[in-house]
Structures are given as C-alpha cells and as structure tokens.
C-alpha cells in the first residue's frame, strides 16, 4: 500500500508560493489514491524547475537531459512494460527543447503519462518566453513582446492522435489529482497540461488570472468528439476550459509490436541456441 508519508517530505529548490508545490501535492495524492506500487513506478523528467519534481519523492527516477525526458521514458517502458512510467517536466522542456520527441511519442502511443508544468515562462534561466507564452508577453529577451504564435499543446496532441488529453490547474489539487489518476490509468499516451503560475517571473498569468478564467467542461461535453475537442483545446483567453478534453482508445506500441504481449522484454532472456541457428544462415 502506498501511503502519503512513504512518498517523503523533501526540502525543495522552488520559490515560496510556486505552482510546482500544488502539482507535487496533487501528484502525491494521485499516487496514493491509485495505490501505485512505487517500486514499480519510474518518474522521468528533463531539466528545469518543474523537472526537479522527482527529486522530491521517494521513488525510482530518471532525471535526464533538458528536452529528453520523453525518449528516456520511452526506452524505460519498452524495456520493462511492467513499470508505470510518468514524465513530469516543464513547458520549455516538453514543448520547446523536446518538441520533436513530444510529436513522435504521441505517434508511437507508448503507455506513459506526461504531466507538463505549463507556466508559460522559463523560470530556472530567469524569465524568458516559453513556447506557450502569450503573444505580446514582455521579457528581457523579448523586450518588444513575444511575436510568435504560441504552441497549442492540446490541439497538437489531439491532431497527432493522442488518446488522453487533459488540462488542469495547479491551484485545484482535487481536480489535478483526478486528472493525473485517470491519465495514469489510461492505456496509451496520456497528456496532462497543467496551468501553473510562476510568481517570480510571470506577473501576468498569476493565480487570480487563472482563477477568473478556468471553467470546467460543460455537463453534456462528449470527450470522444474530436471536433468539440479541437474547439476546447484551442480556447484561450477569457475562458480556459479544464478537464478531459479528448479521450480515445487505440492500440499501444507495446501491444502492436507483438514482442511483449505476455512478458516484458526484460524478462525474456535471449536463447543462445538461437544464435547457432542464425549462424547457419550465413553458409
């Protein structure tokens, strides 16, 4: 049984009041409620303030390179499908430096969960625009405001065929925990984009700004409807919808590749006699 106290209580390197605390709390809550065997779970992250999250849990973790959390997670899951693999990293890490991997991981549909701490800013490098920063957002590097169209991660994920696409808010532990629980339970690639204020460097998108705007999805919302999903995924401004924006089932890479239907690759020992057979093919 996984208990909250087993997950540990670490001193963090986050600013007081940081949105990351809410995400860590919600993640702990989700892990406890899911009763996930922590010995069979690996947390994977890249680099950035968000990517430090696995360091603050008693768990197996792979805190790799900036932008490269998803490929590492892919390798871990393909080697041992019996592990629960959860990526937890920032918007710069996943959507910026690791954008190419984000695209192709969705296409592969490996059964991993990606939680993105999306604060629309680079915190650890002290306040530059991120791929999700709003146009016009002023920073020291973008003194005339951001010119680029932001990445729309949810719409992008839906377009690429992601089976579970959700958005939540770091200030709503109950909602976020529920999203994480459903994402982890989902079989296939799941994305939880978490709106997260950065009190130090993003003075615009703060707690109050989000609280005014976020709205749960309507009662009659059908998360299997791709057209509706695109509409909600692209909605940003006065109203920002949160919840499971899109949900669909398709076979995972692990099932489709046919190599690990019964046992993980790790538990299948290669047979040396096979090699002798293979050598015969060279005569």
């Amino acid at each position: 049984m996984t208990r909250l106290e087993d997950l540990g209580n670490f001193e963090t390197a986050w600013c007081p009041g940081c949105g990351n605390f809410g995400i860590l709390d919600a993640l702990k809550d989700a892990l406890v409620k899911l009763d996930l065997d922590m010995h069979k779970t690996v947390l994977v992250s890249g680099i950035g303030q968000a990517a430090k999250e696995p360091q603050y849990l008693n768990c197996n973790f792979f805190n790799g390179l900036h932008g490269r959390a998803i490929p590492a997670a892919t390798g871990i899951k393909l080697a041992n499908k019996d592990l629960h693999v959860i990526v937890t990293s920032g918007d710069g890490d996943i959507y910026g430096e690791g954008g190419n991997h984000f695209i192709h991981a969705i296409r592969r549909n490996i059964d991993i969960t990606v939680i993105v701490h999306d604060n629309q800013i680079y915190g650890l490098t002290k306040g530059q625009a991120s791929p999700t920063s709003d146009p016009g957002f002023v920073t020291k590097v973008q003194p005339r405001g951001v010119i680029n169209e932001p990445v729309h991660p949810l719409a992008m994920a839906i377009a690429l065929g992601a089976g579970f696409v959700a958005r939540s808010f770091s200030g709503d532990k109950g909602h976020l925990s529920s999203m994480i629980q459903q994402a982890v339970a989902f079989k296939g690639f799941s994305l939880v984009d978490v709106l997260q204020p950065c009190l130090t460097f993003n003075k615009k998108n703060n707690f109050a700004w989000y609280k005014q705007r976020i709205r749960p999805l309507p009662q009659d919302y059908d998360s299997h409807n791709k057209v509706w999903a695109f509409e909600k995924a692209l909605q940003w401004g006065d109203t920002i919808p949160v919840g499971i924006i899109y949900r669909d089932g398709r076979s995972t890479y692990e099932d489709a590749c046919g190599l690990m239907n019964e046992k993980s690759i790790l538990s299948q020992t290669p047979d040396p006699a096979k090699l002798v057979e293979i050598f015969e093919e060279f005569f």
Partner: protein, 575 residues
C-alpha cells in the same frame, strides 16, 4: 591464388545481387573471400562496383588489380588501369561499347542470352554470374542449386528460368577460347565458410551479447545494423525502434539500459554528433550503452557512401565534462563480432559508454569466416543479485567505492529505489551542490574507473617479427591492407612488422614499448591529420612524424601502402 572479380555498372543494375551470389558460392567452396562495394550516394544511375577478391589465404582488403571485369556501363572504362595483360573484360557491346582494348575482351550478347532462355532483362545478372563461373570452371550444378534455393518453393518458375538462363551463360563461356585458363575452381578449397557482412557481424555480436534494444536513425553506412536486427526482432526478443532523430536514439537506449536491458544505438559521424549530449549523460548517470560509430568521410554530410577513419579523436573526446569511455575499432569483419560482444560486457562492468568505431569499408564489405565462437562472448551483467538487494537496506545508486564502480540495481525491484540524475548528485542520485565534499568525490569516483579499464584493454597485435627494424602502425579496418603490405615488403627483404591497435581508448603508455629512436615507425591512417599518430604523441610524448595518409574516400590497398612507404623512404622518412 589471388583473384579479383569486379562487377561494374549503374546503381539499380543489380551489381549487389551478382556480387552477393558469386561471393556466397566461393565461400561455400571453402575459399577465402573479401567483397567490398563502392557506390555513389544515389538510388539509380551513376557508376558503382562490387569487387570480389578470392584467395586460398585470408584476405581482408581490396586488391589494386582486377582479373575479371564485368563491365555493364560505359563508365566501367575507368577500371582500365586495374587490368593486367591477361585480365578478362566481359561486356555487351549492345549495352555499352568500349573503344579501348585491354586484356581479353569478351563481347557477350547478355540481354539476348537472357531472353533466348525465356528470361527478362533483370536476368542479365544471372548471365553475368554464369559467364564468370563458366570461365573459372566452377561446377554449374552448384550455381543451379543456389538459384533454385534462393527463389525457393514460392517462386519455383522464376528459379527454373534463372537456371535456363545460367545454362546459356555457361555454354557461351565454354565456347569462348581464352587462350589459357584464368584459374580453376572445379574443386573446393576446404570446408564451407560463413560469408558475413560488417554490419551483420556487428549485429550478430550484439545478439551474442544479449542486446535487446536498439534505437537508431537511418544513416549510411550504419543502417545495416538496425536492418539486420529488425529481421531478428521476434526470434531474439529485441526491440528495434527507428527514432525521430539521433538525440532520441541515445536517450531511448539509455532509458532502456537504465531499466535493465542491454541497449545500443548506431550512426555515422553526423548522427553521433547529435548524440554527444546523450553520451555525456551516459557518463554522468553511469548507465551502460554501446554506440556503433560507422565512419564516413566528413565534415558535415561529406561522402555518405565512402570510407574514412576521421572520427577517432571525435569518439575519444566527444561529450562535455570528464568521464571514462572505451573506444574499440575492430580490425576486420570477424573482429566486428567480437568487439561488439565485448563492448557490452565492458559497458556493464564499468557502467560506461563503449564506442565501437567501424567505417564504411567494414560496414559494406563481406568476408568469409570459418566459424564464430559465441562462447567467447559470454554475457556478464554485473548486476546485484536478489540476495544482495535484500541485504542492501540503504541502497545508493552511486555508492562511492574504491574502484569507482557502484553496484547496480534495476528499477522495479521490491527492495530499493534506483535513480539517475544528469545533475551533479550525491550517492543516492539526488541533486546536490555540495562543492566541498560531494562534487570532488563524485568527479574522482567517475574517473577512477579508468585505472580498472586500463587493465582491461588489449595490447596491440603484431604481424611479423618482434625484432623487425621498422614498424608500420595502424588501427581499425586498415589491418588487412597493412598486413599484406608487410608481407610484400618482407618478401622484398625489408625488415618490417605491423603493430595494430583495436583498443584505442583509454591508451596505456606501456603498450608503446616498441617505439624507440633506433626503430622508425610509420603510422598509416585513412585520414588527413594523422589522428592516431597525434594520440600516440599525446600519450607517450614521442613525436610520430612518419605518416602515410589517405583521405580520398576509398580504402587502402596493400600496394598503395607499399608504394607510399617506399616514397617516404626516398624522402628520408619524414613527410
């Protein structure tokens, strides 16, 4: 006996299928075969060739001369300089006419012969193969059996048509009066031998080592490794994933290795350049990985289908920060098998990245091997046992040890948590900025493994007398040409030996005792700057200014080395 058959023509004409067929047949007859391909980076057209060298002694390099040239296009006239007085040129003047006359010219209506026997244009290949074999008095039944076998039961009719076409070719060859036979292959030279390609040999080495994961991005000349392993995915339980880029390749492989399977990736210089941050990650998280770097001429895209030894220093120095790695450059195709298998054991034992440095010459060539010994590649994982895990109450992924190697557990075990952190970390693998204590200790721990590695790595191999007055020094794939060059020079009365290195990094001073002031040594390399010569100087302090370099994208032949050696002597030794 030393005979070279060259099939020359355009890409898409099926040179590889004729070449492959002939190579396989001679290997089955017990001859030593070395076959290499020289191709342009294109899918159709251009001028390419497939050269098959057949001998009664082991051969590992191309020959400078051609005994039988099958000339399928006009550009084949570029091989004129390789022909001897009695070389045979097989061509079809209806397909490509030649103005030159060199050796014995054999104009064969190849397309007509194929269609006469009911075959199509593609079967010109079968005509070419049967003509060559007919001229060499090779038993036709062996060819027919091979053709039937390769088309199999699925396409019996095509198999039979090919046999009819081959008969036409044989008949034609027998009618032709050569005025003396080239060579007689009517009898086998010994027991059948394996014919293995360089990329296949690497892949077989990986399978022997129990590798179960390769992620790679296609890049010549490394792609063959992934291709071959994909064909064995089901039977050998290996995941073969074509990644979105080489950055993903190495990070996926590191993930898989962290989770506990043996993992590798393969690329050429450009792809390896993208992997470099990941290589440094492997150094930091002490996670084993095998990286095959199949060299080709660079910088940048360079010459994708040609060969070079330009990435030695790159392999040795790649990656920011300081961490140990091993670089091994196999000397021949058989060596590719053992080097790759050994690479996995070294990677696991020391928790390090191991780079297997091959090149296009090895990757795209085929050679005969008597037998491969998988028992020499015993899998040793160096993982903690269940009992050790049970007793380790306070497991530390990066425990500080005397050897620098920390006992390795895998995530998923019920006893402890396993970590990897690209940040500087403490013994538990958690991020630290403890500069007083932890940082220096971790740096020392990581690099302490070098002293263990130095004991592990093999000394150079010698060919020739240890008392020779002069030395040729080489590394990697130049071995075959160098060995032959030494034999030629020794036969001419020169007192010379070859000292050849496969294990290139870390280098140990003690392996250079053969260098002294009285004994001139020449370093022979397929690059411009003399990378190994410079590495020796760095290691030993001895200036290595006698060098033979080649950087035109083609491999050395023994004759080139002999000539370059003699030229060097005329100039007084130094270049």
């Amino acid at each position: 006996m030393d005979l070279t058959i060259k099939i020359a023509g355009e890409a898409g004409q099926g040179l590889q299928s004729v070449g492959g067929l002939l190579s396989r047949l001679f290997a089955r007859k017990g001859y030593h075969v070395f076959a290499n391909q020289v191709v342009q980076s294109r899918v159709r057209g251009g001028h390419n060739w497939f050269a098959i060298r057949i001998s009664d002694r082991p051969v590992h390099s191309p020959s400078f001369q051609t005994d039988i040239l099958v000339a399928l296009d006009k550009e084949s006239s570029c091989h004129l300089k390789e022909l001897k007085k009695d070389s045979v040129v097989i061509f079809d003047s209806r397909l490509a006419a030649f103005s030159f006359r060199q050796g014995r010219m054999l104009d064969v209506p190849m397309a007509d012969l194929a269609s006469k026997a009911g075959g199509n244009k593609l079967m010109i290949n079968t005509v070419a193969a049967s003509l060559v074999l007919g001229l060499l008095n090779f038993r036709p039944e062996d060819l027919f059996a091979f053709l039937r076998q390769s088309f199999g039961k699925k396409d019996e009719a095509t198999g039979e048509t090919n046999v009819r076409v081959a008969r036409e070719g044989y008949d034609f060859a027998h009618k032709f009066d050569l005025g003396g036979r080239i060579a007689d292959f009517s009898r086998p030279a010994g027991k059948p031998k394996m014919l293995v390609g360089g990329s296949e040999a690497v892949a077989l080495g990986a399978l022997a080592a129990g590798c179960q994961f390769i992620s790679a991005y296609p890049m010549s000349p490394s792609t063959g490794i992934m291709t071959y392993l994909a064909s064995k995915a089901d039977s050998c339980h290996i995941v073969v994933e074509q990644s979105e880029d080489e950055i993903a390749s190495i990070n996926m492989a590191l993930g898989a290795s962290f989770a506990g399977v043996r993992a590798m990736t393969a690329s050429s210089g450009g792809g390896f350049a993208l992997m470099v941050e990941g290589l440094s990650l492997a150094g930091m998280i002490e996670t084993p990985i095998v990286i095959v770097l199949a060299q080709r001429p660079a910088p940048a895209t360079g010459l994708p289908t040609r060969t070079a030894q330009e990435d030695l220093l790159f392999a040795v120095h790649a990656g920011h920060g300081e961490f140990p790695r091993v670089v091994i450059a196999p000397k021949d195709i058989e060596g590719c098998f053992y080097a790759t298998a050994r690479a996995f054991n070294l990677a696991d034992k020391y928790r390090i990245p191991v780079i297997v440095l091959t090149d296009q010459l090895l990757a795209d060539s085929f050679a005969t091997i008597d037998v491969l010994h998988p028992e020499e590649a015993v899998v040793r994982r160096y993982l903690m046992t269940e009992d050790e895990l049970k007793q380790a109450r306070d497991y530390k992924s990066f425990l500080l040890t005397r050897s620098g190697v920390s006992p390795r557990a895998l995530p998923g075990n019920p006893y402890c948590f396993v970590t990897a952190d690209s940040d500087e970390h403490d013994e538990y693998g958690r991020i630290t900025e403890d500069l007083d204590r932890m940082r220096p200790r971790m740096v020392e721990k990581r690099n302490r493994r070098i002293s263990g590695l130095l004991k592990e790595l093999k000394p150079p191999s010698w060919h020739g007398s240890r008392n020779a007055k002069e030395i040729l020094v080489g590394w990697g794939s130049t071995y075959g040409a160098l060995k032959e060059a030494v034999d030629t020079l020794c036969a001419d009365g020169v007192s010379i030996a070859l000292v050849h290195f496969e294990d290139l990094w870390p280098l140990d001073c003690k392996h250079f005792g053969f260098l002294n002031k009285k004994r001139p040594a020449v370093v022979v390399e397929n690059n411009f700057t003399g990378q190994f010569a410079n590495l020796i100087t760095r290691t030993t302090g001895i200036v290595m200014d006698r060098r033979i370099s080649k950087y035109d994208g083609l491999p050395f032949t023994a004759r080139e080395i002999v000539r370059a050696y003699r030229d060097l002597h005329k100039k007084g030794g130094r270049r």
